[in-house]
Amino acid sequence: LDAGTAGEIEALATVLGFQGNPSYGGNRGEDGWHQIGFENLMTYQPRFGYYDAQVDEEKP
């Protein structure tokens, strides 16, 4: 990781602890990801979001 000011390093550590891969010890139970709506699945099906689902409904 690149060095930065003390404030930047603290912010980086906080964010990585909250949103990094749980294998590093933070984001316990993927709680940080759940809070922001990131599902962390290996596959997803189309109709990913609200707007592309709308297009699907418009089709006959």
Binding site: L1, D2, A11, L12, V15, L16, F18, Q19, G20, N21, S23, Y24, G32, W33, Q35, I36, G37, F38, E39, N40, L41, M42, T43, Y44, Q45, P46, F48, G49, Y50, Y51, D52, Q54, V55
Partner: protein, 552 residues
């Protein structure tokens, strides 16, 4: 690794330096044509089982890219400055090279890209030149690349695209919410959105499975082998011939030449840092737009005191940058842009340079989301949002699923003062000189990015964004540059170019140089399709020359 292993003492037909987007293609072409080939690659030979979705490993640390801790890069804005360590450039460093971790955008150049000097005239302060080849010369090789590698897209959907002899082999990828919003907004503005051409399989192809929309393309290796890197497409075909050895973790320090000025092979450090010489009848350098000029400059000899293939003095010059600003918008409903490939729609309406704008340049704009959770929290939020405490958490919760970005891909003019050179002081872990980057934007390129940013904001507003914001795009903000172009320019005149129209070095008859370094202009970024088309074309030429006995 499943290919043949040649004894070190054996002089092979071709030595290929670099197993990336270009080198993988060249190796496959040469080996399938019947030649014995050794490919030396700096990085490791990884498999899909070696990858993961670990954002810290692949985006905060150089999981699949050059590591400045062992190979420092130095940067300065101009020759008058002292270069200081900074990761100014980034490239894929494994078998497959950048084709492993790239976002997989796969644009062909337009016909105009090859003759912009004729079309636009001189641009002050730049060395804008026509290419020695036309789009028509390259078209069969674009087609071959699309079919051999596996590219998804929709032919004819982009009214500005150059003529193509065949449609894409695979249909476009499923559209995301960013693509739908972009479609609606650009059509409202009278523009022409089209499905993104990508090196990702929308359907099973040549024994590989289709993409499962996991969303981890940019910066990551594909665990499904659905991203059409050379690692999973052409390199296995090269190895299957029994005539191609991919030798990973081999770092070349010098291309050797004989008394007649012909390349004889290369000296490299193996994984145990032993020095080994591998002989060959002809050499292909495909090490990327930064490592290629570095190696040529390091390959000085009595006969080639300025470095190999450098009688023009242009090896390392005309470095062009990965230009384009990013704008973002917040929307009312969840887009969940983290699902699926990064880019599904784009426009080329602003691609051509237009004198009415008052400056040279143009670009494409794509709708995308190229953030992962931690990177988004650090770099993806509007600049005026809180960075601390519960308010920060609430902001991420609102924005992560509701944000999309528009990225512009814009011109970078060739200027002789922008260079890759050998740092006189800083050394890497092998004791070789660090790559020193000297780079500053041309004023027209800055004007293009600014003008395009206004278009990006217009589109986001037309799409109904509740709020828009943008990322800065000065030189330092656009670091590291990942499109390494221009440092061994292609041309007909040996005084003003390094390689000829078929990527053969003007100065050394059995030396080919093919990768982004050949580019005469940057077009509008997204160089991979053109790198690979040039590689197919150079290999075709080399095979015919070798069969004529012209290389030995």
């Amino acid at each position: 690794m499943s290919g043949v292993r040649f004894p070190i003492s054996e002089v092979v037909d071709f030595l290929v330096l670099g197993a990336g987007a270009a080198g993988g293609v060249v190796a496959k072409e040469l080996a399938t044509a019947g030649f014995r080939v050794v490919v030396l690659e700096q990085g490791p030979y990884l498999r899909e089982t070696d990858y993961s979705h670990d954002e810290i490993k692949y985006t905060f640390q150089p999981g699949l890219t050059n590591d400045p801790k062992v190979q420092p890069i130095t940067y300065r804005k101009s020759e008058a400055d002292h270069a200081a360590p900074m990761k100014a450039i980034e490239y894929g460093r494994q078998v497959g090279g950048g084709s492993v971790h790239f976002t997989a955008n796969y644009w062909r150049f337009h016909e105009s890209d090859f003759r912009e000097r004729s079309l636009c005239g001189e641009v002050r302060g730049a060395d804008l030149a026509d290419w020695p080849i036309t789009y028509a010369d390259l078209e069969p090789y674009y087609t071959k690349a699309e079919y051999e590698l596996g590219i998804s897209g929709l032919a004819g959907a982009n009214p500005f695209e150059a003529p193509r002899s065949k449609p894409y082999p695979l249909p476009p990828m499923p559209v995301k919410s960013s693509g739908v919003l972009f479609d609606r907004a650009t059509k409202k503005l009278g523009l022409h959105p089209f499905p993104a051409p990508v090196a990702i399989l929308s359907e099973p192809y040549q024994g590989r499975a289709a993409c499962v929309n996991c969303g981890f393309c940019e910066s990551f290796g594909c665990e499904m082998r659905a991203k059409s890197s050379t690692l999973v497409s052409v390199i296995p075909l090269a190895e299957k011939t029994g005539r191609c050895e991919i030798r990973p973790e081999c770092y070349v320090r010098k291309i050797e030449t004989d008394g007649a000025g012909r390349a004889t092979g290369a000296v490299y450090f193996d994984r145990n840092r032993r020095e080994i010489f591998q002989g060959a009848k002809a050499v292909f350098v495909c090490a990327n737009g930064a490592e290629t000029p570095k190696l040529l400059l390091m390959s000085r000899s009595k006969r080639f005191p300025q470095g190999l293939a450098n009688s023009s003095g242009l090896v390392g010059k005309y470095l062009m940058w990965d230009n384009g600003g990013e704008a973002q918008g917040l929307f009312e409903h969840p887009l969940n842009e983290y699902k699926g490939i990064q880019v599904t729609r784009l426009i080329h309406d602003y691609y051509a340079s237009d004198p009415e704008r008052g400056f040279y340049g143009g670009g494409g704009i794509d709708a995308r989301f190229d953030f992962y959770p931690a990177g988004f929290a650090l770099h993806g939020l509007p600049p005026d949002t809180p960075r601390w405490g519960s308010e920060f958490k609430r902001t991420i919760q609102t924005y992560f699923t509701r944000t999309m970005a528009l990225l512009a891909h814009t011109t970078s003019l060739a200027q002789a003062r922008n260079t890759v050179s050998l740092d006189p002081d800083v050394k890497d872990a092998w004791g070789l000189p660090a790559i020193r980057i000297t780079f500053d934007h041309h004023p027209d390129d800055m004007a293009t990015m600014k003008w395009m940013m206004a278009r990006q904001i217009e589109i986001l507003e037309a799409a109904g964004a509740l709020k828009t914001w943008s990322q800065p795009y000065d030189v330092v903000s656009n670091m590291p540059s990942r499109h390494l172009m221009g440092t061994c320019r292609m041309g007909n005149d040996p005084r003003t170019s390094v390689v000829n129209a078929c990527s053969r070095a003007h100065d050394v008859p059995n030396l080919f140089i093919v990768d982004g370094s050949n580019f005469v202009t940057s077009a509008r970024q997204q160089p991979t399709a053109t790198i690979q088309a040039l590689a197919y074309r150079a290999a075709d030429y080399a095979i015919r020359a070798a069969k004529r006995g012209d290389l030995s």
